[in-house]
């Protein structure tokens, strides 16, 4: 019986009553649910490993692919795209079919989506720990994977979803679906525009007719540089939080919460207004990640005020969530699923209050670069995303496996262990962040920094880092209990899943079911009556019948903020005043910079000195926009686990850097930087530096004569020899042993950092740009 129905295409063959028969595809939901919990455990495990490395630096064992800088991107990508991502897909595939009274449009697309996405995650696991990265946070995956993401997300997932909406049998689309639409549209936009690159391997291939190495084949540079790259990146980064970790989870909440609570949604009106205000305002808020950086102040202000305005739109979701539970509170005590939801939504409320708070410039001057931000995102991901996902999984388990949940007690244990772990984690890291932030800006009675040695501000955090490890372990333990519970539930599944056949009429072409709005005013002016009709919101009801139109409106809403911020930044040159002494990196320095990126140095070191006395006293002159015009990608960083490096050039000897990479603890007692023994052993491929330089030249970096004469490789080798000989003279190993090693290229880059600005301009171009304008 079920088999027969399965064969019928869901949107065809009306039977004689005018009803169409269809069966929901729960198989795909089961697959995504498994992927969610399994990748969740992996992501959290990697998180615990890197947390341990901060408390106990040698936990990376001096092994390249276990080092913090390489594993941290794996942790963040796995948590966001693998754990939360698969959770989103499980939610979308389960709820969309039911909200549309339709099987997913294409089983093939569903499967391509599932396997494509797992392949992307697998590619991340196989590239990130090996230093194959674009060096932009949460956009680390290299260009071939970027293309896979675009295809899988937009074509397989987006296409399948939109076609399901179009072939639905429910007249209106429910608020959960609006949020899914916003997710699909915006993530596509963000992903594409933040991942426009020049692949260095292809450039080499075109120029020299061969591909020198897999490393270069996978390497790419963003077309944006410096300030512009930073703006694009945080437009992306912030809205990845918005449209990957917020909107789909609100959609998830709007379906699974009323289901689990068996209560109607609190307010339809609120869902309309908070949906539109959220998607419109969120997109503007990105620049709050760049307060007091070289980003022009106007952009920073835009980011801040929109973040403040975002508070209530975000809380609209929380209100609708918590208020929907009214009347179900008596069940919360006995139902761990509702407990997950309550804590999840509460954490959402806290994180979305804290977000606007942190976006206020003066608060941000304290929090930025500290663990405060890390605590904030973990409150969001562990509390909101994690707990909403777990709540959903537990609710779905008996339904998907058509049996009883193996153990409600284990489920409750998961809740409590997870909650305690999460609270330990965030409290320790809040304390760490605020402590370090205050220490950085503390002055003594003589007007000097109270803690001039950066290490002092790190050592004091170690006990809190241990608490974080314990908190993370507890949260991971909870997730493992969840996996076990799911596995045991699965084991008691029926031999063959029952496929329930549903019947519903196809949507007719003509529909006039929505009552026309009548003005309640009876005013004499047309405008007044029209305004009142608008306020009653019937127009929105009719929009809910037109998913394509709604999609277009969402696109308009999310496009505006990005355009207003990005276009002036690219077109108005006064945003980035040039500095005549800032020159492109030499070929060797460029190669060294790529090593800096590959090792993930930006995960612990910033390259951005903010215009505060406590920063300029510690790190030197504050950073100017014109200093970064050749930085593809920018490497400003977002966290100072180690000190800022913007003016590192020339401060220390080559030998110091060499020994420091060998083992930081030898030189700097209590340093938590890991060892980098492989940099002293692995060699630089000088030949492929041509591909790197040519790619830069393609994007307009003026390499001039160097390229015309084909002397890139020669130049790189010359500089490497020079540095290696100086290293030897300073007491280092013989230059023959070191000149072709990666460490030399990296030192070349480090010694260049931030030095151009203090060079004397050549006499010919003596007209230095001035920022001040005299009246």
């Amino acid at each position: 019986m079920a088999d027969i129905v399965k064969k019928t295409k869901s949107h065809q063959h009306p039977d004689k009553d005018g009803l169409e028969a269809f069966v929901y595809d729960d198989h795909i939901v089961r697959m995504f649910a498994w992927a969610t919990i399994i990748w969740g455990v992996v992501a959290m495990l990697v998180g615990v490993i890197i947390a341990l490395q901060l408390a106990f630096p040698d936990a990376g064992l001096g092994v390249s692919f276990l080092s913090f800088g390489r594993l941290r991107p794996l942790h963040t990508n796995a948590a966001i795209f693998a754990f939360a991502g698969n959770g989103i897909f499980a939610a979308v595939y389960y709820s969309t079919q039911r909200l549309c009274k339709s099987r997913m449009y294409s089983d093939l697309l569903s499967k391509l989506h599932f396997y494509g996405w797992q392949l992307i995650i697998l590619s991340a696991v196989l590239t990130l720990p090996f230093g194959i990265t674009q060096g932009k946070e949460y956009a680390e995956l290299e260009w071939p994977i970027d293309i896979m993401i675009a295809v899988v997300w937009l074509v397989f997932f987006g296409g399948n979803f939109m076609m399901t909406l179009i072939h639905r049998r429910e007249r209106h689309i429910y608020v959960a679906l609006w949020f899914y639409i916003a997710t699909i549209v915006t993530v596509t936009m963000l992903h594409v525009f933040n991942n426009l690159w020049v692949p260095a391997g292809l450039v080499y291939l075109v120029q020299y007719g061969e591909m020198p190495s897999a490393e270069l084949a996978l390497k790419s540079y963003p077309i944006y540089a410096g300030v512009q790259d930073a703006l694009m990146q945080w437009w992306y980064g912030h809205n990845a939080v918005a449209f990957f970790l917020t909107t789909p989870f609100l959609g998830m909440m709007y379906y699974f919460l009323p289901k689990a609570a068996e209560r109607p949604v609190f307010s339809y009106k609120l869902s309309i207004i908070h949906f539109w205000s959220l998607v419109f305002i969120y997109i503007w808020a990105g620049p709050h990640h760049l307060h007091y950086t070289a980003l022009p102040e106007w952009a920073s202000t835009v980011g801040m005020v929109f973040s403040v305005m975002l508070w209530m739109p975000s809380w609209g979701g929380m209100i609708n969530g918590l208020m929907t539970l009214r009347g179900a509170w008596h069940r919360v005590a006995s139902d761990p699923i509702l407990k997950f939801y309550i804590v999840g939504i509460t954490f959402y409320g806290m994180a979305t209050f804290e977000g606007p708070l942190l976006s206020i410039k003066s608060v941000n001057s304290l929090s930025h670069y500290t663990d405060w931000t890390i605590a904030h995102v973990h409150a969001g991901v562990l509390g909101w995303n994690g707990f909403m996902t777990f709540g959903m999984l537990y609710w779905m388990m008996p339904r998907l496996f058509q049996t009883k949940l193996y153990s409600k007690k284990l489920c409750a244990a998961h809740f409590w262990i997870g909650t305690i772990g999460m609270v330990l984690y965030v409290l320790a890291i809040y304390a760490a962040g605020i402590t370090q932030g205050l220490m950085w800006r503390a002055f003594d009675v003589n007007g000097r920094l109270s803690y001039p040695d950066f290490i002092e501000t790190v050592t004091i955090l170690i006990p809190m880092y241990w608490i974080r490890v314990v908190g993370g372990l507890l949260y991971l333990t909870g997730a493992i209990l969840g996996l076990y519970n799911m596995f045991m539930t699965w084991r008691t599944r029926p031999e063959k899943y029952e496929e329930v056949v549903h019947y519903a009429p196809a949507l007719s072409k003509n529909y006039d079911g929505d009552p026309p709005a009548k003005s309640r005013l009876g005013a004499n002016t047309k405008l007044g009556n029209a305004g009142d009709k608008f306020l009653q919101g019937n127009w929105h009801r009719s929009l809910e019948r037109k998913p394509v139109k709604m999609t277009l409106w969402v696109l308009v809403a999310v496009a505006i903020g990005g355009i207003v911020e990005a276009v002036p930044m690219f077109l108005v040159s006064s945003n980035i005043p040039t500095i005549s002494t800032v020159k492109p990196y030499t070929p060797l320095e460029l190669a060294g910079r790529d090593i800096y990126i590959a090792e993930g140095c930006y995960n612990c070191h910033s390259q951005m000195i903010r215009p505060f006395l406590w920063e300029t006293m510690r790190y030197g002159e504050y950073s100017k926009p014109g200093e970064f015009i050749y930085d593809h990608p920018f490497q400003w960083g977002s966290r100072r686990i180690g000190p800022d490096l913007a003016r590192e050039g020339g401060l220390r000897t080559h030998l110091w850097h060499y020994l420091h990479f060998k083992n930081p603890a030898d030189i700097s007692e209590n340093s938590i930087m890991p060892r980098y023994p492989w940099l002293l052993k692995n060699t630089v491929n000088f030949d492929e530096i041509r591909g790197r330089v040519d790619s830069m030249a393609l994007m307009g970096v003026p390499y001039g004569e160097l390229l015309l004469e084909g002397k890139t490789v020669e130049h790189a080798k010359g500089q490497a020899l020079e540095i290696a000989m100086e290293l030897e003279a300073q007491g280092g190993p013989s230059y023959e042993e070191t000149y072709d090693k990666k460490v030399i290229a990296l030192i070349a880059y480090l010694q260049r950092m931030g030095t151009d600005i203090s060079k004397t301009p050549p006499p010919v171009e003596s007209e230095v740009e001035t920022e001040g304008v005299s009246p």
């Binding site: 289901k259 009106k269 609209g316 008596h330 000097r448 000897t653």
Partner: protein
């Protein structure tokens, strides 16, 4: 279960809630109004946004961050260096610093942020990187002003780099502090005592006030 917790009891007491006709896979929606405080705070945040933009960017009330920094730096110079700023860079300036506890403390603070990475936390030296500054042996220094020269320009053989982030007064203070460490004789690692014994540095000059 107490009566008050029953789902329906809520409806009867507070305002009447109306269910809309919407039904999606069994999910219904109330036609509840949006809470008033939601509107108030949302509008408030919008008003704040406009005011903030106007005040910060279109009135002279808030100076730019560059101006604020310059003011801070000027004020801090006064606190940190006082009358030192007028003194020429010579031995007397260093001796004056050595005779003043708070300036010496400043020198120490600069030393901890700049020099300890190579010379060690107690200036005892680090093998291969920095010499012991607490003994009487000196390799590049004959007199106190040579310390100033080293910090300003580094050594010719590039074993010590110039400390380009420090201004003249900071250099004077850190040099004076480094000179003051002589004779504390913290044992250092092998080789950190390179160089030869030089003549004693001139004695600190005690000032009458802290400057």
């Amino acid at each position: 279960m107490p009566e008050i917790n029953k789902p329906d009891s809520y409806k009867s007491d507070a305002r009447k809630e109306e269910l809309l006709s919407h039904n999606y896979d069994g999910i219904q929606e109330y036609d509840n109004p949006i809470p008033g405080w939601w509107h108030m705070i949302f509008l408030g945040s919008c008003v704040f946004a406009v005011l903030y933009v106007v005040v910060v960017h279109f009135t002279p009330m808030v100076p730019s961050r560059e101006v604020r920094l310059a003011n801070k730096i000027a004020a801090a110079e006064e606190v940190q260096f006082g009358k030192l700023r007028e003194m020429p860079m010579d031995e007397i300036k260093l001796q004056t610093i050595m005779g003043n506890e708070s300036w010496l403390a400043t020198g120490k603070s600069i030393f901890n942020g700049t020099c300890t990475v190579c010379h060690g936390k107690q200036a005892q030296g680090i093998t291969g990187l920095g010499l012991n500054l607490t003994d009487d042996n000196y390799l590049y220094v004959k007199g106190m002003m040579d310390i100033v020269d080293l910090v300003t320009n580094g050594t010719e053989n590039k074993k010590m780099p110039a400390q380009t982030l420090l201004n003249t007064n900071e250099i004077a203070m850190v040099a004076a502090y480094a000179a003051s460490l002589r004779g504390t004789n913290v044992p250092g690692p092998d080789g950190s005592d390179a160089g030869e014994v030089i003549a004693p540095f001139p004695a600190p000059i005690k000032g009458d006030d802290g400057g």
